[in-house]
């Protein structure tokens, strides 16, 4: 039995039956990281001491015969935009290169209470802006299935670490596809949670009306275990809510599945289209009824996203000013700032990378006097229409099935020079964030050695039903 290949469920049973200790499990991952991560580069920071001390506490719990929560002693990795008290948190940016978090994010508080073991923080596109993890200020992460290709992004480090068995599971964040697309590229399961289902307190904000934290795991069952642990209302995040609906139990034969025709666009890789159609056929063979549906405003989703998101980015990232914490030119040996304005201008010029500055500029432009109505307000109205498309579709069907990405994992360096071509990688994932829906990315096959992911989109707060369908699909797709 290779400890690093275990799912959460399997590792939990192993710990419970005392087949191995939490410390042994943790050490197995730590040595796997030191062995394999030189090639993959998924970790930015390792928290070895923290991990071992957390594992010891769990072993003590086991030795005293106490009941073991299902995440206790299970090692995980965290995207480096989620705060862990007294651990460096960079958001993949030079501006936070030496920033040490002062408190735990709510999701971390919940995981710690359940005895989780934190192995470290994973690489990401700077401030979660990107689809390849090449925008990290530190180094790019490689796809474990092909080291010349990107792992996707922005949660690329988390997805690569799960795929390479460098952690049992990981957390990522998804603003426009940043959990689902890397999960698809790395051949693992990723969940974008319903907006409001998981607290954002302690997540470094990118676009507040779109951001959600979610799990990246090896199986759908594991995604459910993590989701159940981290979700719920939090007084520290006023946009978090208590889950109102739990599930609809179903027989596969009673299912109504929608296939949005706009998601099989020109330019989609024919091999991907083939695998997705085969996946849909397999679900149809169980007796589910398949309907073609239309989400007519899909063609405006990416434009809407690239107006709403940068606007929120420009406001959220105003806090990084070289004054309170993080990178500041006032720390240079030679005095370089003549006045306060210089401190702002130069600290932000040197601290932020190209993509971050591009989005701040775009957002500032969209929100500036004279352009607000033509750009931002218009985009918010189109957002309403995109959401209504989904509302209408969900009157007729229970789920929507689509590809996660129109393209296979691309070569490192292939898209990074042309921002717009990188943005197009998000074309099938952004609508879900604009509409606040939950969606599961689940592996459905491979083209050569490159994984392809199926996206299952559900109604708001119907995560449990997504897990049910996801598990059914996992079984028939084996």
């Amino acid at each position: 039995m290779k400890l690093c290949e275990l799912t959460i469920k399997q590792a939990h049973l192993g710990l419970k039956n005392q087949e191995f200790s939490a410390k042994e499990l943790t050490k197995a991952f730590l040595s796997e990281i030191s062995l394999k991560d030189k090639k993959i580069s998924s970790f930015l920071t390792q928290t070895k001491d923290l991990a071992l001390s957390q594992a010891e506490k769990v072993d003590e719990l086991i030795s005293r015969g106490k009941e073991l929560p299902n995440l206790a002693g299970i090692p995980l990795a965290l995207k480096d935009n989620i705060l862990v008290k007294d651990v460096k948190c960079t958001a993949g940016s030079k501006i936070l290169e030496n920033y040490i978090a002062i408190y735990d994010a709510t999701v971390i508080k919940k995981l710690k209470e359940r005895g989780a073991v934190i192995l470290g923080k994973t690489n990401m596109d700077e401030f979660a802006m990107g689809s390849s993890t090449e925008n990290s200020a530190f180094f790019p992460t490689k796809n474990p299935h092909d080291l010349t290709r990107v792992p996707g992004g922005s949660s690329g480090g988390s997805a690569a670490a799960v795929a390479a068995n460098l952690c049992c599971y990981a957390l990522g964040s998804d603003t426009g596809g940043s959990i689902r697309q890397p999960a698809s590229f790395c051949g693992v399961v990723g969940l974008k949670t319903t907006y409001g289902a998981v607290s954002r307190y302690g997540l470094i904000a990118m676009a507040s009306s779109l951001d959600q934290i979610g799990p990246i795991t090896k199986t759908v069952e594991d995604a459910k275990i993590v989701f159940d642990a981290i979700s719920g209302k939090d007084p520290l995040d006023s946009t978090s809510v208590e889950k109102k609906v739990s599930t609809f139990g179903f027989q596969p034969s009673a299912l109504r599945i929608g296939v949005p025709k706009e998601y099989f666009i020109e330019g989609i890789d024919p091999e991907i289209e083939k695998l997705i159609k085969e996946a849909i056929k397999k679900i149809e063979d169980l007796g589910a009824k398949i309907f073609e549906v239309s989400l007519p405003h899909t063609k405006y989703a990416l434009s809407t996203y690239y107006m709403v998101m940068p606007s929120e980015v420009s406001a959220n990232l105003a806090r990084f000013d070289g004054i309170k914490y993080g990178y500041s030119i006032t720390k240079s040996k030679e005095p370089r700032a003549k006045n306060l304005l210089d401190v702002y201008l130069k600290s932000r010029e040197e601290g932020f990378g190209n993509e971050v500055r591009r989005r701040i500029m775009l957002g500032t432009y969209a929100l500036s006097a004279g352009y607000y109505e033509a750009y931002y307000l218009r985009a918010q109205k189109v957002r309403t229409l995109i959401k209504e498309d989904f509302d209408k579709a969900f009157e007729k069907v229970d789920f929507l099935l689509t590809p996660v990405s129109p393209v296979l994992p691309f070569k490192i360096g292939e898209r990074i020079k042309d921002p717009l071509s990188m943005y197009l990688a998000d074309i099938l994932t952004v609508s879900v964030n604009l509409a606040g829906l939950p969606a599961l990315a689940i592996p459905c096959g491979k083209v050569g050695k490159l994984p392809v992911g199926l996206q299952i989109i559900g109604k708001p707060f119907y995560e449990d039903s997504l897990f049910q369908l996801g598990q059914i699909f996992e079984e028939i797709n084996e």
Binding site: Y99, I102, Y103, Y195, G196, S209, P235, S238, T239, V241, H297, Y300, L302, S303, Y306, M307, S314, A318, D321, G322, I323, K324, Y325, G326, S328, T330, K331, A337, N339, L341, D342, V343, Y344, L345, K346, R348, E350, R357, R358, I360, M361, L362, T364, Y365, S368, Y375, R378, A379, Q380, K381, V382, R383, T384, L385, K387, P419, L420, Y423, L434, G436
Partner: protein, 97 residues
Amino acid sequence: MINKEEVKHIAKLARLGLTEPEIEKFQKELSSILDYIEKLKGVDIKNVEPTSHTLKIENVSREDVVKKLDIEKVKKLIKAFPERKNTFLKVKSIFRN
């Protein structure tokens, strides 16, 4: 197409320093992204309400009470200041002499 002066103006509003070659680079890149976004002008948005947020929750309030001060947290916050004098955050003067 946005012009160079507009790029400089936005950069100043956003408090972002830009070098001369960067101004040109951003002018090109922002223009091509804005051209792409022009698509939105083709949508009929008459009588459509804007969505800023997908959850219909408003005016979340809490009791206005002072929480107990965590002195360790305060010390760490002060330690993170780029420049300080004793326990004060130091900034450049904002008035001319």
